[in-house]
Point group: C2
Chain length 341, copies 2
């Protein structure tokens, strides 16, 4: 096994910093409450102290985590501004910008859900607002702080499979499964900025940019839709052309859930099963001419990793890798895929 | 496990026919001698009796299999015409047509290696020649007679994973590995008709058409090349759009050898490892909401299956699935991918 994988859960960015920051969660929907808040409880550098929601029941549910709560007007008015140092924006995509701008005005560091906003114009305004205010902005890309993907980048950088020539992957999230049904913002083009590409396809795009450390020369794609998805792409098939590598990807809002990612190199391949779901044990299979090995159960609490990474960067003033510019680049690429489709 | 997979090696086409046909092998190169002739020795309905080659050493090596041999002029002149009932054309792609025409003139059934020829015009002439002469023509697609893929088609037809919405796959054949080096016809655009797409990418295309039982509405692609491959595509990334499904595929002449194929449906997925190499044990993984199971070691002597299928069809007069029209359709699609690239 390559040495990159011997200590998978290593926090290569962690300097054992002092202190802890207090976080306001703006948009206390299912993902924020069900997935993020439980992980934040395990964070070393971060405590959630404030919850902002337009829904009284969501505010109540957030109070169960010990959060002081307010609504969006209260947040915009700075009602609880002394109780937090940073803001996590987890509203529908098209609403990110005003909340990021509020945080910037308040001088708070920001971590915004992906995509940064529903259009590149708005995403750019979010970046500019944080730059002007001199506050850090992180785009909440889970894979960039997932320890397994950080080890994978080290492995690839070390030539683990030679030159990467192709990548392939699929991320299918059956968005109508569960309790949400068709009446949700993810199926609203205006609010979401798009469908499967925006919500799940972006993982393939961003992870590939992260692993290769390189921007695509071009992207293109093909979209399909039907029934309740008619406003957005139900399926997207897209290609990203890099210097030495081409990625052929698909993503979907319907079908059997999958999240697979394969990297083809001149000297070997890496396949990851269960690659993109939050907080899931992942299976990584490396095959080269000399060796074949598997890492089963790699992964872990990646939301804890993501938020601790963010808080650590805020505490230490270190640069954030998945910053606002990174998030903006993906929104621009998403628009290019849609234009070509 | 779905009942389609309970008897994987079943020959659904076999009627226990009487008799045996005698085969002339036209083009006794490495694949014909190293892979095909050993498999033919195990065939029930076929005996190889004649070998045709322009190379004295290849003729000698073929004689070791008990073949009477001649050169291409001897074949064209009908020198050994009474010693065979059918012809297997295994020359470089661009030379298929004249040998198919000779066989048709001689009233012999034909099995031609894929692609049917280097251009669709020539492939069409080959089809016409056999139709006019009233002789059967089979394109030598291994996957269509591979028992595992025939079972897989039954499984899909039975709705094993619901509606197929996406397919993905890669076939990488490092053509410079081994003894051949860069001086070979597969790297000569004129002789081969193209590179990785023609030689290995066609497996993904044809297998998908076979499994879906449907022609793509459109195909498009992207090609890359370097160094010794400059005359043809070293890598190809291509997309085939069907009614309900889209396939995102890649194929390559360089890199770590792989052959993977995944089918995504509304109710499950099927992945096949080692999907396309000749005579290789394949691993099939089925995942649905209710079940997950693997077929390890499925596969077998698929060249024997291919040639027995052909001979059985010739003996019984039954229709051939991978016929000339099927081979011609792929050559046309290949040209469309190249045009778009």
């Amino acid at each position: 096994m390559h040495e990159a994988f011997t200590d998978v859960h290593r926090r290569d960015w962690d300097t054992d910093a002092e202190g802890e920051i207090r976080l306001a969660v703006v948009g206390c929907g299912g993902f924020a409450r069900g997935v993020v808040l439980p992980s934040i409880e395990a964070c070393a550098y971060l405590t959630a102290t404030v919850g902002v929601s337009g829904s009284a029941s969501n505010r109540e549910a957030s109070a169960d985590y010990g959060l002081a709560t307010t609504d969006y007007d209260g947040y915009a008015d700075g009602e609880l501004v002394d109780r937090y140092d940073a803001v996590y924006v987890a509203t529908p995509n098209r609403l990110h910008l005003p909340h990021v701008e509020t945080a910037a005005t308040q001088g708070k560091a920001v971590i915004s859900e992906k995509p940064l906003d529903a259009t590149s114009d708005r995403a750019e305004q979010a970046v500019t607002a944080c730059e002007s205010a001199g506050v850090p902005l992180m785009t909440a890309y889970r894979m960039q702080t997932d320890p397994l993907f950080r080890r994978l980048r080290e492995f690839l950088d070390d030539g683990g499979i030679g030159t990467v020539t192709r990548l392939a992957g699929d991320f299918t999230f059956p968005v109508l499964a569960g309790s949400r049904g068709p009446d949700q913002w993810r199926l609203d083009r205006e609010l979401a900025g798009g469908g499967a590409l925006v919500d799940v396809g972006v993982y393939l795009l961003n992870t590939t940019r992260f692993l290769l450390g390189e921007e695509p020369d071009s992207v293109s794609g093909h979209t399909r839709t039907s029934g309740p998805f008619s406003d957005v792409d139900e399926h997207v098939d897209f290609r990203a052309v890099f210097d030495d590598a081409v990625g052929n990807f698909s993503a979907s809002f319907s079908g059997h859930p999958t999240a697979e990612y394969t990297i083809y190199g001149t000297d070997g391949t890496v396949r990851i099963d269960d690659a993109f779901q939050p907080n899931r044990d992942r299976r990584l299979v490396v095959e080269t001419a000399d060796a074949q090995y598997e890492l089963d159960g790699a992964g872990g609490d990646e939301l804890r990793e993501e938020f601790d990474y963010f808080a650590h960067a805020v505490l230490t003033g270190r640069a954030i890798e998945p910053d606002g510019a990174d998030g903006l680049a993906d929104v621009r690429l998403i628009e290019q895929v849609y234009e070509s489709a």
